[in-house]
Amino acid sequence: MIEMHWVVIVILLPLTGAVVCFLWPRQTVVSGLITAVGLFASVLGLTWQVLEQGALRYAVGGWGAPLGIDLYVDGLSLLMLIVTAVVGLAISVYSSAYFRLDRAKHFWPLWLFLWAALNALFLSADIFNIYVTLELMGLAAVALVALSGGANALTAAMRYLLVSLLGSLFYLMGVALLYHSYGSVDIAILSQRVESSPAVWVAIGLMVAGLLLKTALFPLHFWLPPAHSSAPAPVSALLSALVVKASFYILLRLWLEVFPLTNTVPGQFALGQFGLAQILGLLGAAAVLWGGIQALRQTRLKLLVAYSTVLQIGYLFLAFPLASIIGWKAALYLLLAHAVAKTAMFMAAGNILFYGGHDRIADLDRVAQRLPLTLSAFGLAGISLMGLPPSGGFIAKWLLLEAAIRSGQWWWGLMLIVGGLLTGAYVFKVIGYAFTRSDLPHEPGFVPKRMEWVALVMALLAIVLGLFAPLPLALLEIGSPFGESLR
């Protein structure tokens, strides 16, 4: 039987799709949708392959590290690919109704490029190659934000572009230092060679700073709310669900494999990493508070949802000081649940905007009641974001709290509780308006049913994730990305 190169297909297929969409703009929606479905199937194929064979390493060009570039799939990267595939498919379906052709012909190639960049990024085992994918992702994301036109979106896109480039350059400088220290850019090789040295520390500092900027961890989140709120709704969804997670993924990967030193004097480095982890945890906690409070203060729905992303990113960083397998799994599950729920929420916000022509929260009652499916989607997604059972968010919160208490650092868990309550406050601030009655002042826009249903399906998925947690959690074990379990 011919071995399927699913690893390659999930990168080449979206690129090919992008090229086809670009060449024949009139058929762009059809080509795009076909690509999306094919890509979803390919990721399933890859999943099946990895389940059968375990973690995979693929030497592009046949050279292998250190000379060539390797692709690597383990549970961690596979989960990211699956999240991307699920969210990507939903966004594709939603977008096929959202954009008119004059914008669709720009949206599809850019989006498929972005998808290719994400897949390539998650699969890459080479830190320089990751830089290239980061840039590919960043430029596509910026162009997508600018797609909605208008002064706000363009300015936000411009700021986003500068931030993105700045982050990449910091990252690249780190890559340069690591390469010139150890003569390799392969993650696996580096993880064996890295020792505590000034150059390594500076490299870690640069890379962490650059990636935090791209991940928008407080206080480096300043660019996120304007960019995520002014972009077209499907773009907002994919930015919040996927793009910020990509840089988080790199950070996590480096943290787990390149940064820790086991083969050297333990004290010094461990202490340093401990300190850095505490700082990341503190920033995460600050992000939870800041994002939550800001979300509560917003008067526009999309900005509220964008600040909710700032809060949720803070959650992810609470796992760093816990430094346990269960904590990492919790963070990944949170990432998964948030991606799905936030997609639903931005889509719901997009529908409301589509229908009522505005997203002022105080006037939502005129709109919300007439879009029950959309409102249900918003509510269900909100439940997951709050971390109430049964939902993916609850599972993640449970695991993270468990990790916090087990590690004796219950205060990080407290931040989860506070974040959940803040989320509850801002979600119900919106939901509350759904029950008051008022008249619609003008002719409503038409919301295609497809857009409402996709949002609802994603929201339901966020809930269902609360009932099928053992599956994704087992998937994460493949290749033990978080180290060997002690059990």
Partner: protein, 229 residues
Amino acid sequence: MNNTGENTIPLSLRLLLMVLLTVMAVGLAYAVLSLPAQAPGLSVYAVENINISGVSNPVTAVLLNYRAYDTFLELGVLLLALLGVWSLGCAGCQHQSSPGPVLDSLSRLLVPILIMVSGYLLWAGAHAPGGAFQAGSVLGAAGVLLLLAGWRIHAGLAGLPLRIALVLGVAVFALVGAVLILPGGQLLAFPPAYAGGLILLFETVATLSIAISLTALFLGADPDEEDAS
């Protein structure tokens, strides 16, 4: 250029920033100086395999064989930037310059030379410094010069033909790279016997795509759409 920007920042903040950045610079310098004084990096491996790479210039071997995947993605970045620029729909943003007689004759003189230089660089890349990027940018410069001189692409070529030329690099990489999988190889794994030819093919299409992309980037908007509007 206006100069409002600098003055809005209070001196105290600027001083603080300078102090912080100085600290950072010292750290960076310290990191550089702490690096091992001698390190071969990957040059040993690169040279070891040069015979089966298809070229004799090690940089080209890295770019188009060992790490051809990077180059492939990077052509993608270039194409993507063009997509991004076109999606901005900035047809009216750029003001036209009317070429004077000097520019006109200069371009008549320079363009053929640039094309020749580009061709040479492309060919030389196999054994000496040079290659697709150098060749592509020189050819792109020729295109820019033509644009400045008022030349525009023929309307009949502005649609699909132009687009095909733009995606040529990415498409050929993807297609050939994928075809190489079929006989049981890996993506972009060149059989040594064909490596030289394949690299030349890649370099040629990459040169064309890069040159046309750079020219199109300079133009700033989709010429097809420009006509339409």
